[in-house]
């Protein structure tokens, strides 16, 4: 995107720059009026955008097909409206019906979907020995296989981790710490990339670097 030339776009760009600085006054200085102003502005505008986007989605998926003759669409519409009884204390129990539909579908799909990728494929890949003969491949294979077994044993919470379980669960905990460390390393990249994007925007609006 090139640096805008239209007046309203330039005003918008600088407004965005100022709003960004208002948000950054919180970590870089302290909580203040400008930060609270920008924060509430964001909540209000997000609320409106979400409302309109969801409304257009409901119209597209449910109301328009209903008006075009798909009578069955009255069912989810009525069930969906029943969820607003949550706002009326004496009729809150009515909202359990649409929740039951969502929970039932969610659990059914979740159970059937998780078996192959998260259980079958994961375990098979972990216990499949390498076809090559390189020492490092076999080391890695043993690392993953032993680590998986020990880590799963760590989550065996119905037995006390003593006696024969003591050593493997301790090893499993160490494997989990390594995994969480790797996760932390990736989290740092994520958080800093977002900050980098803002630093870049800061300089682009000032025309210190090209947009």
């Amino acid at each position: 995107m090139a640096y805008p030339t239209a007046t309203m776009d330039i005003i918008g760009l600088w407004l965005g720059w100022l709003l960004m600085l208002m948000i950054y006054t919180y970590p870089l200085y302290k909580e203040n009026v400008t930060y609270r102003f920008a924060e509430h502005l964001f909540i209000g505008i997000t609320l409106a955008i979400s409302a309109i986007t969801n409304l257009s989605n409901i119209m597209r998926m449910c109301v328009t097909p209903l008006m075009q003759g798909n009578i069955l669409m009255i069912v989810p519409l009525v069930l969906g409206l029943m969820i607003f009884t949550m706002l009326i204390p004496e009729y809150r129990w009515v909202s359990r019906y649409p929740i039951a539909v969502m929970v039932g579908a969610g659990f059914g799909l979740g159970i059937r979907g998780t078996i192959k990728p998260n259980l079958q494929d994961a375990i098979i890949d972990s216990i499949t020995a390498p076809s090559g003969g390189a020492l490092i491949d076999w080391f890695n294979y043993l690392w993953v296989a032993v680590g998986l077994i020990c880590s799963i044993l760590y989550f065996l919470l119905t037995y006390e981790h003593t006696g024969p379980l003591k050593a493997p669960t301790r090893i499993g905990r160490l494997f989990l710490m390594i995994a969480l460390g790797g996760y932390f390393g990736n989290t740092v990249l994520f958080r800093f990339t977002m900050l980098t994007g803002r630093a870049q925007f800061f300089l682009q609006v000032l025309k210190l670097i090209p947009m």
Partner: protein, 216 residues
């Protein structure tokens, strides 16, 4: 009778729909119309339920403005921008079918929502930095392993790591592709088993936390 309507019928609906989803997957080769209908209904209900948050928030802030509670002015700003964006967007949606066809809505979307949305979440990057020198202490073997693994992955992700020493990239890759795999796979497997167990409990009507909103 009302107790049955408030509890048993609800649990039965949950259980029946769960079983129908499983039946379709395990006993039919192609997707079935009745299952598609149930899924579509669940999606539509989910969409409608998202308005609940908007309504609750609007009520809360409106009450705050009405009663002039502490910092009510911020609630005023919130409601003002909410109303402006909502009305301009609705006007465009009703007349043209696309909300962003309204100039004001589009301008606020691009120049207010975008910078604010892009700025609020990255604040956590600052906190990671301060946590690094204040809280991340390798006081025992567990914490030391976690820190070492984290640093190796960081040096692998940042090109400067390989520039300092190619070994950092090698070690970082080993952590990413081998060392952390048992732990992450364990979390996936345990999560999957937990989901299955939780799902069957919901199917049998033993999980009632979702229905707490009903008051009983």
């Amino acid at each position: 009778m009302s107790d049955i309507l408030k509890r048993e019928v609800v649990y039965a609906i949950t259980g029946i729909i769960t079983v129908l989803m499983l039946l379709e997957y395990f006993f039919f080769d192609t997707s079935q119309a009745w299952a598609e209908a149930l899924r579509t209904w669940a999606v539509i209900i989910y969409n409608i339920s998202l308005f609940l948050g908007a309504i609750r928030l609007s009520i809360a802030h409106s009450v705050r403005i009405q009663e002039k509670r502490r910092d009510w002015q911020y609630s005023g700003i919130l409601m003002a921008i909410f109303v402006i964006q909502l009305l301009t967007g609705l006007a465009a949606y009703i007349t043209t079918g696309v909300a962003t066809n309204n100039g004001i809505y589009n301008w606020l979307f691009n120049y207010v929502y975008t910078p604010l949305g892009a700025t609020l979440y990255p604040i956590t990057g600052f906190y990671i930095f301060s946590a690094a020198y204040r809280a991340f202490r390798a006081r025992n073997i567990d914490a030391a392993l976690m820190l070492i693994a984290g640093c190796l992955v960081m040096l692998k992700n940042a090109p400067v790591g390989e520039a300092i020493w190619i070994g950092f990239a090698t070690l970082g890759n080993w952590v990413q592709f081998t060392a952390q795999v048992p732990g992450m796979r364990t979390l996936a497997i345990v999560g999957a088993l937990g989901l299955i167990a939780f799902g069957f409990r919901a199917l049998l009507g033993k999980e009632r936390g979702f229905y707490a909103g009903g008051g009983e």
